[in-house]
Amino acid sequence: MSDQKKLAIIATKGTLDWAYPPFILGSTAAALGYDVEIFFTFYGLQCLKKNLKLQVTSLGNPGMPMPMPMPVLLQALPGMQAMMTTMMKAKMKSKGVASVEELRELCQEAEVRFIACQMTVDLFDMNPNDFIDGVEFGGAAMFFEFAGEADITLYI
């Protein structure tokens, strides 16, 4: 099908909040009939781990809504990041927002292609066995092979 629309995404971030946009947009585009490819590079590779340990932090992020005002130095205390992650996950669950794992599975069911940046894998000595099944490994040229034909390309 040559008239099928294509969406290419570069996912560069490895926090819980920023793991959402690539998987939400990828799965939705696939549901709309798009051919989708997501290229995960640098910290974005955390989103492909079998065992996701994604966290959120309010540090350096004054836009994050807080249940109560809190000085930045307090936010930096040990355990605060884990607490905020737990609170964020509970909030998402209560609002019916899917988990990252669920959206990732829905992407895979819809045949969204996941490409892991080989250079980053080597750079950080990551173990390819830590990634979920179905991940392909490639470089910038492989991304452009798809993105060059894409109708939409997003850098997240």
């Binding site: 939400i24 799965s27 939705t28 549901a31 709309l32 009939g33 609002k95 019916g96 927002v97 899917a98 959206l103 829905l106």
Partner: protein
């Protein structure tokens, strides 16, 4: 009230889950059959409109019933 062949309860689910579940349900239908969806996400009103426009399936009904949003989609 239109007849339907299958019903999907997407109550309590938030974007993009109602669309993704609906897409899956529509895939299992044959052409001409109707899927009825019940949702609570206010964003789903515009989303189902956009979904149908882009996938070519027909949005037969989009309304509110007992505080929930109800849609009927006919598979093309």
């Amino acid at each position: 009230m239109a007849n339907f062949d299958q019903e999907l309860d997407a109550s309590g689910l938030n974007c993009p889950l109602p669309i993704l579940r609906a897409k899956k349900a529509i895939t299992s239908l044959s052409a001409g059959q109707v899927l009825r969806i019940v949702a609570t996400d206010p964003g789903s009103v515009k989303d189902f409109e956009a979904f149908c426009k882009q996938t070519g399936n027909e949005l037969l009904e989009s309304g509110e019933e007992g505080g929930k949003f109800v849609f009927s989609i006919k598979k093309s």
